[in-house]
Every structure is written in structure tokens, then in C-alpha cells.
Subunit: 442 residues, 2 copies
């Protein structure tokens, strides 16, 4: 396996340090041009044709490398160069924008999501090139700058440039080992519909003695939210489950083979789990509703005898394939009206569709075989048709028409989005080896 | 009527300015000793025997004046020298702790609640003394420093010193004209039980993709709160209404005679009023439940895909006579358990009992007759057996065994507790005249 003192690895640490030092927090629109230019330079160094597209906010970096002998196979590597905000800074043990290299870890904002992934992939390509002086197939790169803010302008970019994107397989931004230390290969993500409910009841917060006759925003909000699901988690909106795409038998098989996380132990859950066919079934195949937050009136210490004029809640649905966010939003607003909550404002915040597939493809077979060899056997690999999270896979799939597969350098304690985000050096080296071996087998 | 340029009035403005300049915010434990000492000096100047009791936090000022000829009548004046916090300071148009005197108003923190009341009462007493060189009866003063923080130590003070407090009538801290400009005389206040509901579901906030199987604190909180009342405001806790003391026919009569405030117009209410026998009936005689505030998870802009580990709500019941806060709290916790919410923490925050009476007493008759004369006739007076608000009347009544009546210098836009708290100079002068006339009739 490739060693830490390999000059390619040492060079990659320097590149990762420079990359992490660019504070490309998309929520703050930071360092977008500089980061895109840095990536252009890196990719040109390996001989890629690079375009930095700037039609919309946050430049989109597209690059392509081709072997001397024309190849009929194209792999598209999708990564994003933006990162989550570093806050809360006080919980970091080191500067979030300075790559800290310890005996066994690489620590910094973006180490796991997904600057470390991109650099490890690039390093594997360099290694292949060093050995062969050429490439095994066409490799395309699509590097966006707004993934952490719901890929706000990616649809416009893709609508304009989708002809660049034709590929046979998309390698998704990142991935990680699970808690059982299995290398996880995933073929999808859920969709999402984030919305806000706002109740207003008066021009001002009232002295609460008037609550003897005046109804109020928080009561209305609580009743409206409570109408959305049963205690077991079943969503009560008519038609909500109608378009849900049931899993194929192959997809179900993959999920049944996967290890079951002990969530109750892990997070000291105090409530029973929601009704589920199995934990993994629900995480992979079931749509769900979540309250992200509630806010109304007096939230400080002690009491304040106030009847709040306003109450707000942020909620979200996680969606599965064939559920359309806009259509679900229409069903939601109709349902609330039918239940007598026409006084509640329903605000659409963002929506993304789901993507899922059964991972049956010769290139994925090759990827899995390589992983089994590099990661220690079939029982060290997890194959899942979808992650429970959300990303722009459906969008990328729509424009590439290529199946998508995700895997990467993270592990179960990488802390994506959290303080002290990190990856293990051993996972980083293992992935370089694995991806290089995959390229060898193409 | 007494004029603004009367030396007694001019002196009282100076005293009120000094009083308001003492920033006696009880929530911040400010200026307690200085304010008590200031009151001691003021009261000694009119010849009172004054004790500043310091057994518990916030000194309690007790004072007594007696006529040369022993009197069998004792009136106890209850006021508090503490005020609400001045925040939000940016909404004040002048320094909250500097008495601003305009053409027609006295503006500053405590002007209406209740430093202006105390000084106007003292000024009427001075005026009486100036005319007669004596007092019409025994006058006692009970001035506490923690009314705005639920009279935290008053029960202990009263348990120890209640023998000082024997009286025939208690004149309550303050009062105001209503929106119809009627001078309001009120004989009670509601009780209160403030409590907190806390739901906990996990050791940390979870990535919301896990909401596909994990139940969460905000869902539990919303369901628990929603179980407490019907949409029409009816409280669903068994036994809650059992001890409610129905109004006497005299009390009902008083309420029926009172003007009905147009709350919907006044506050631009967007929801129908709760079910009520009449607005004034509910405000005076009905217990109620209110949500003071809700808090959970992500309350900032945009979305955050989090499943909150905790959700909190502050609520309160307003109680009527014979409802015991402790007993209601027991019913509440039992009900939540019976409804399956034993996972919800129920925290008792504070409780006070209600006090109400029908205002039938010779001294009140005298007060009302005087008010009718001074304020322009019977239709310029409002008599109510209780205010919809809460205060320590039940406690004072328990230890004085005397009926309580509230009236004062405020008006409907005084803005007690709010920025730019103020009274009108005309109301202030009118009250001095009225109270002096009342003393004359004793």
C-alpha cells in the first residue's frame, strides 16, 4: 500500500493544507473565486482541460482528461469545494482553516466533506499517471461551490452545460466507513422539502391575562404541527405516500445485508423508535417528517406573562424517489387548509428530489471487487441503494444520465459539519490505494 | 381641584423624580436598600413611625400614622417600590430613570407601576394634614421590593410580621382609567400557576436524516401541549374546573355593567375569540391556559437539518378563587402521565392564589361615592370584582383579613412594564384630589 512518506502523499498533504486554508464557506460567500482558481491550477497540473464557469454566483469548475488512445468509458468525479461554516469556533481544538496533521489524523474544515476526498482522488490519478504515463479512460470533474447551501445555482449551470457531462458512472463527492468499520458504497440519497409554518395572531405580544378570551399563535402552531403525523411517525397528509417508489428485491436484499446501527445506545435515546419495517429499511426507503425547530414568545429564564403574537416552526420532509417536492408542498398546504389551519402561513424553503438505484452496473461491480480486495474482504464492504441524507444526486443524474455511486475517505467519527472535522490518515492512504487499483482494473 | 403649581404638587414632582432615579429593578436586585431608605425618610417627614425590615432579601418598609384622637378605622396602603427592567432601552424616547415632565405627562420607569401612585397618595395625605393638622384615621403603609418578581419573600415577611397589618381596608398599589376613560375600581386579581414542559430525546442534536426512525423532543412537546386544551380554550385536565368559585349575582352584575373592550380591533386579532360567556365574564371569572413561549432546535434563518434533542415550553394557568396552584400542578402532572407523556418533565415555576370579592363594604361605598363626585358621575366609574391580572392580593388578604380595592393614576396607554411608561398629569392631580376628598369623608 502507498506509504505516508511517499512523495505523492507528502505533496497531497501540502495541497490539502492550501485547499483547507481557503475558507470557502458558501453560506458566507467566501473565497469562491480563489478556490475555483486553485482547483483550476491543480487540475491543469495533471494535464486536464479546465473551464471555470462563472455564469451564476459561485464559479463551477469543469475539467476533463483524456487518454492518448480514445476511450469509450467516462467517469465523472463530482465534488464540491464549499464547506460548512466553522461555527461554533470555540469548540474547535485547532484553527478550522489550518490543516492539522497529527500522528494519525488530518483535521480541519472540509477534511471529510469533501476537500480530503477530492485530493485523495487526485493523488490516485497522479499515481496512475506516474506508473503509466497515461489515463485508463476519460475522467471528468464537476466541482461546485454551493453544495452546502442546497446547490442553489447548480440547476441553472447544468441546464446550460449538461452536454459536457455525459458519463458512464459518477463518483460522488464523499463517503465513509460505517461504525462497524465497513467501507460503505452508496447509490443514492433522499430528497427533501424544507418548509416553515408561521402563525400570527395579533399586532403585538399581549399581556397574558387576555388569554382568557384571546386565542394565540403558539396554540395554533402546536395544533397545526400535531395534525401532520401520528405518534408512530405516520404522515397524515392524504396522498403523501402515493408516489413512493417501493424498493426492488435487489435493493431490499442490500439493505437486509447491511449492519444495523444501535441508535438507541449510541445517542442515549429516551424514546422508543418510530414504527419501522427495520431501522435500515426506514433509513433507506421511507419518507419522513422532522421538526427542525420551534420558536415563540418568551424563551429566556423564568417567566414572562406574555401571549405571543407569532410562532414559527421549521420542518422538513425527507422524500424518496418519485415524490416531487412541489407536489408534496401542494398536498401539505391543501391538508392544512382542510384541517382548518388556513390562518397558518406555509413557506416553501427548499426542495430536492431523491435518487436511488440498485447498484447493478459493470463499473460498480469492478469498484466493489476492488474494494473487497483493498479493504479486507466482502464482509468489510457495505452496499446501500441510498443514504438517509440528501444531496443533488437526482439533479446530476438527470443531466448525466449516469448512475451514481458514493464512497470516500471518512469514518464514523469524521464529524462532517461539526467542530474538529477530521479523517484518519490510514483511511486516506487506503482510499488512494483503492482508487488507484480501480483505475488499474478499468 | 388641586393645581399643578400648588407647592405640594411641585414638591411631589421632585420626590417622584428622586424616586424614579433610584433604578430599583428587582429582577436585577438593584438599589433596594437606597430605595427603602428614601421611602423611610419620606414617610418620617409626614410623621409616620417607620420600620425597614431586612430579615429576607429586599427590605420591606412598614409605616404607620395615627391621629391624635384614637381612631377605630385603619386603612393599609400597599405599594411596591420595585419596577420592571427598563429593557428594551432603545425603544425609550428618554432616560427611563429620569422623570421627564412634558406639558401633559410624567414619563419614566415606575411612573404608572407604581411610584406615581405612591407619591400621589402621599401628596393627598400631606394635603389633608396641611388643612387639618391631623389624620382622619390610622394609615398603614406596606411597601415591598419584589412585586415584579412574584413577591418572592413576601410570604415569609408576612408570616413573621402579620400582626402589624390589621386593617379595615387595603388600598392596592395602582389602577388606571379604562379605554372608555372610566376610573376603574377593582376588587381582586386572578391567581397564576407558571410551569415549564421539557422534552428530552437524545444526548445530542441528531442529523435529521435519522428522523426516519428516531422520535424527537419537539414532536413529544407539541403533542403534550396540544393535549392540554380544546380548540375553544377549554382545559382538558380532569378536575381542573372543580374548585372554581362561581361568581355571586352581585359580582355578575358588576361585570355586566362594565364596558366591553373591543380587543379584536385594538390588537388586530386575526383569530376568533375563544369561547366565552362574555369577554368581561371570562376576563374576570374564568381560569385559562396560555403558552408564554416555545423553544427548540434551529430558530435562525434558513434551514438546519437537525433533529433537536430538547424542546421547551413555558406555560401558565390563570386561576380563580378556590383553585390552589399546588393542587392544579398535581392534576396537570397526573394528566400528562395518564395521556402517556411521562417522558415530559413538568417544572413548577411559580404559583399565586386568586382573590376576588363583591366590593360590598361601607368604606368602598364611601370610596365609590367620592369617585363619582370627583370623576364626573356614576357612568365615569367602573367597578369590577377582579382584574384579569395577577398579584399578591390573596396573600395580603390572608394576613390582613381586610378587603382589598385597587385604583390609581394610570390610563389605558400608561404602558406598565413597557418602554415610555407614563401617566397623565391631569390624572395625577385628579387622583390627589379624589384621595384627599375620600380622607375628608372618613
Amino acid at each position: 500500500m502507498i506509504k505516508i512518506d511517499d512523495p505523492l502523499v507528502q505533496q497531497s498533504f501540502q495541497e490539502l493544507a492550501t485547499y483547507i486554508a481557503l475558507p470557502s464557506v458558501s453560506a458566507k460567500h467566501q473565497a469562491q473565486k480563489q478556490t475555483a482558481d486553485f482547483l483550476k491550477k491543480l487540475l491543469e497540473e495533471v494535464g486536464a482541460q479546465v473551464q471555470v464557469l462563472t455564469d451564476y454566483p459561485a464559479p463551477l469548475v469543469f475539467a476533463e482528461i483524456k487518454p492518448q488512445q480514445p476511450s469509450t468509458t467516462t467517469i465523472l468525479i463530482y465534488n464540491h469545494y464549499d464547506v460548512q461554516p466553522e461555527e461554533p469556533v470555540e469548540l474547535w481544538h485547532s484553527d478550522p482553516f489550518h490543516l492539522k496533521i497529527t500522528k494519525d489524523k488530518l483535521i480541519g474544515r472540509g477534511a471529510a466533506d469533501c476537500k480530503g476526498d477530492f485530493i485523495s482522488r487526485l493523488t490516485a490519478l497522479r499515481r496512475y499517471q506516474q506508473k503509466h504515463g497515461d489515463w485508463p479512460c476519460n475522467i471528468k470533474f464537476l466541482l461546485e461551490g454551493e453544495e452546502e447551501i442546497a446547490s442553489e445555482h447548480l440547476p441553472q449551470y447544468l441546464a446550460k452545460y449538461h452536454e459536457l457531462l455525459a458519463a458512464d458512472l459518477v463518483l460522488w463527492e464523499s463517503g465513509s466507513k460505517n461504525e462497524q468499520e465497513q467501507f460503505s458504497i452508496q447509490g443514492g440519497n433522499k430528497g427533501v422539502l424544507c418548509f416553515e409554518l408561521v402563525a400570527n395572531s395579533a399586532a403585538i405580544d399581549l399581556h397574558s391575562s387576555y388569554a382568557a378570551v384571546v386565542d394565540s399563535a403558539p396554540w395554533r402552531l402546536v395544533a397545526a404541527i400535531n395534525s401532520l403525523r401520528d405518534a408512530d411517525g405516520h404522515i397524515k397528509i392524504p396522498g403523501f405516500y402515493e408516489q413512493v417508489l417501493p424498493p426492488t428485491s435487489r435493493e431490499q436484499e442490500l439493505v437486509e445485508q447491511a449492519a444495523v446501527p444501535d441508535l438507541q445506545e449510541k445517542w442515549q435515546l429516551t424514546l422508543p423508535l418510530l414504527k419501522n419495517k427495520s431501522v435500515n429499511y426506514n433509513l433507506t426507503f421511507s419518507p419522513t417528517i422532522n421538526i427542525e425547530g420551534l420558536s415563540s414568545g418568551w424563551e429566556g429564564p423564568g417567566v414572562k406573562t406574555v401571549t405571543p403574537k407569532t410562532a414559527r416552526a421549521k420542518l422538513e420532509f425527507r422524500l424518496v424517489p418519485n415524490q416531487d417536492p412541489q407536489e408534496i408542498f401542494t398536498q401539505l398546504t391543501q391538508y392544512l387548509q382542510d384541517q382548518g389551519f388556513s390562518d397558518i402561513q406555509v413557506n416553501y424553503l427548499l426542495g430536492e428530489s431523491a435518487y436511488r438505484w440498485d447498484l447493478q452496473h459493470p463499473l460498480v461491480d469492478l469498484l466493489v471487487e476492488t474494494a473487497q480486495k483493498c479493504y479486507g474482504g466482502a464482509d468489510q464492504i457495505e452496499l446501500l441503494p441510498s443514504s438517509p441524507g440528501t444531496g443533488p444526486m437526482a439533479l446530476i443524474n438527470q443531466y448525466t444520465q449516469a448512475p451514481i455511486v458514493a464512497c470516500g475517505v471518512g469514518y464514523s467519527k469524521s464529524g462532517n459539519h461539526a467542530p474538529n472535522e477530521n479523517i484518519r490518515i490510514s483511511d486516506y492512504l487506503e482510499f488512494i490505494e483503492f482508487f488507484d487499483q480501480f483505475l488499474e482494473r478499468l
